[in-house]
Amino acid sequence: MSRKKSIAMLLAGGQGSRLGSLTRHIAKPAVPFGGKYRIIDFTLSNCVNSGIDTVGVLTQYKPLELNDYIGNGQPWGLDRNRGGVHILQPYTKINSKSWYEGTANAIFQNIKFIERYNPGYVVILSGDHIYKMDYSKLVNFHEEHEADCTIAVIDVSWEEATRFGILSTDAEGRITEFEEKPKKPKSTKASMGVYVFSWDVLKKYLTEDDKSEKSAHDFGKNVIPAMLKDNKRLYAWEFSGYWKDVGTTESLWEANMDMLNPACGLYSDDDDLRIYARNYEGPPTYVAEGAELSESIITKGCNVAGYVHSSVVSSDCVIEAGAQVISSVLLPGVTVKKGATVQYAIVGQGAVIEEGAMVGKKPSPDESLEITVIPEHKKITGTVV
């Protein structure tokens, strides 16, 4: 049987409960982002742009929309005869649990899928991060260092370090210590949740981990510490581009705002790192006389006659004359009627902001950022903060 050098396993089962109403009906990776994308488009496109043509997508929470969105993988060029994208749902087995319990367990339950491709390396990814990365560089690093596991790391501030898995390395990048959410971080190298494992080693550890009663079956908490303890070759690979975990409404909003700043590198039509998405038909956007647009991105199918500043507008939105959209994210099909103001908000799909309504408020300098979220298909009158 022929062998794939590396395949990717994309963990997309998270509920994303901190995104509130945005994930009431859909899984977090399926949440619309950046005008015309879904969050998962970034990792799927990264795989394709890195030459990885076999991707298992592990879904569990509200998978209907996500499964439908991924379909046969054609928008990403992942409709392949051998390989391509596969949705991997938990399933019942004889004498065994069925739901995915932890990240490591999710991969463990799909050992048969991975074995079909007999890969040298397995890249483990998370479906809820926004970044552009060439995974082949990570895999090459892993190969060169004859590592058992390589973890992509990014430099974070000392304050942020307490929220991440923090790594300490020796001079040549070999990991000496790994701590999940340390109270007193020893370094600022944070794990991005992007791992590459040599498959034979990972398979052994997953099998052992599954036997352990005490294990939470998690990569960060169990598998990686176990490998460290056994003195396996674990390396850190430093990534310097843009990366964001969009776990909260505030971070999701911030990542959308970063689309507006070309310096972040998210917004670019660079062919090597192009982000692909499933496209829905719609005419170009019409901008009427009297519209005022600045520092914003708008995709197709919209009718814009109002004031739009520093915002991300998805497809098929209507912004009437006299409406104001400021520092906000409109998901597909939103209508903002005349005299309405939307600021510092994420407005869900198909919501209607009625005439004169006020959504969100500008945070004063001494307050922490708070983003107002309007649930999908909601009609808003009056003031909602």
Binding site: G35, P262, N279, T285, Y286, I298
Partner: protein, 370 residues
């Protein structure tokens, strides 16, 4: 009642000057992100037609590139789907002279298909039309051929219609006038015909034996009293593209909301090739009025009454009025353009000023640097 479709991609190639000098009429960019063929092809698909042949003649590389496997129109199928029919023949007859020869070259495709009816259509009419409804009317009328027409005004002067159809009270065509220019309101042919597939093959065999070439003149006009031909008047609106001025008008017509709603949504969506562009970015200082903007643009200057295709860049201080800028046009800083059509990949270097006139637009050919 199943119908198949045949699209002619090269009709009137010569009338659109530089815009069609390196492509078929069918693949002329239109409306910010479409090609002309998208309309007739999407209408067919939305009407349940799943077996479509596209007849090509010359310069059809851009058309092939656009249509690909037909997947954007859901025409990449195991059974039926999209078939591109390049010129077929031997020796000197390989490039056809008229529709009859073109169809004769495609007769194997017609013979192989199993639909009872066939729709023949040109690609120069923009409309959103339900062919299922027209097929019902055709069957009900008992006609051998139905000609789809639209009531249009002939204004005189140089306004000459390619085909004017006169019919009696029952809708039966009694006269077909070609290149007709006497002012008045007339039913004008829009290059779409419905007939039985077997009957078309019969007509083709007969026409071939007489060495006929021109479907409209030598069959429809010459035999309009021998055959039972009906006039099916289309009730929606059309935008007819048969010269540069009309091409410009048909684009600008889309700035009207009611036209957009009809052309893009009336009976179903219009599909086109996907380009995976980023959303369009509007920076501080840009100013837009009454314009249609596709994805992937970057706008820093002023744009008014214009159509911008995918991937157009408009630099700081630039003033774009009454223009059609096709995909990947780059307008550098402080350029001023009025009534100008820029074909694909044109670059206008900073500070240039070009002024066309409402009746005479400047056309900048594909890939030119000004």
């Amino acid at each position: 009642m199943k119908m198949m479709g045949i699209i002619f991609s090269n009709i009137y190639d010569d009338r659109l000057g530089d815009i069609s000098s390196h492509r078929t009429l069918a693949s002329i960019p239109y409306g910010g992100r479409y090609r002309l063929i998208d309309f007739v092809l999407s209408n067919m698909v939305n009407s349940g037609i799943s077996n479509v042949g596209v007849i090509t003649k010359q310069n059809y590389q851009s058309l092939m590139d656009h249509l690909g496997s037909g997947k954007e129109w859901d025409l990449d199928r195991k059974v039926d789907g999209l078939f591109i029919l390049p010129p077929f023949g031997t020796g000197q007859k390989s490039v056809y002279r008229g529709k009859i020869e073109a169809l004769w070259g495609a007769r194997r495709f017609l013979e192989r298909s199993n639909e009872e009816y066939v729709l023949l259509a040109d690609s120069n009419i923009i409309c959103n039309i339900d062919y299922r409804h027209l097929l019902k009317l055709h069957v009900k009328s008992g006609a051998q051929i139905s000609m789809i027409t639209k009531k249009e005004k002939i204004t005189g002067h140089d306004d000459v219609k390619d085909m004017v159809v006169r019919s009696d009270f029952d809708g039966r065509v009694v006269d077909v006038l070609m290149h007709y220019g006497i002012p008045g309101v007339e039913n004008c042919g829009i290059g779409m015909y419905i007939l039985k597939r077997e009957f078309l093959l019969e007509l083709l065999h007969e026409a071939n034996s007489y060495n006929l070439v021109d479907f409209e003149r030598e069959i429809l006009q010459a035999k309009c009293n021998l055959l039972n031909i009906h006039n099916l008047e289309f009730q929606g609106n059309i935008l007819r593209i048969d010269n540069v001025a009309r091409y410009f008008e048909a684009n600008m017509a889309l700035l009207d909301k009611s036209v957009r709603e009809e052309m893009f949504f009336r009976c179903g969506p219009i599909y086109t090739k996907i380009r995976d562009e980023v959303p369009t970015r509007y920076t501080q200082g840009c100013c837009l009025k009454n314009s249609l903007i596709a994805d992937g643009c970057e706008i820093e200057g002023e744009v008014e009454n214009s159509i911008l295709f995918r991937g157009v860049k408009v630099g700081k201080g630039a003033k774009i009025r009454n223009c059609i800028l096709m995909q990947d046009t780059i307008i550098e800083d402080n350029v001023e353009l009025d009534y100008t059509i820029c074909d694909k990949d044109v670059t206008i270097q900073s500070g240039r000023v070009m002024m066309g006139a409402p009746a005479h637009q400047i056309i900048i050919g594909k890939g030119k640097v000004v």
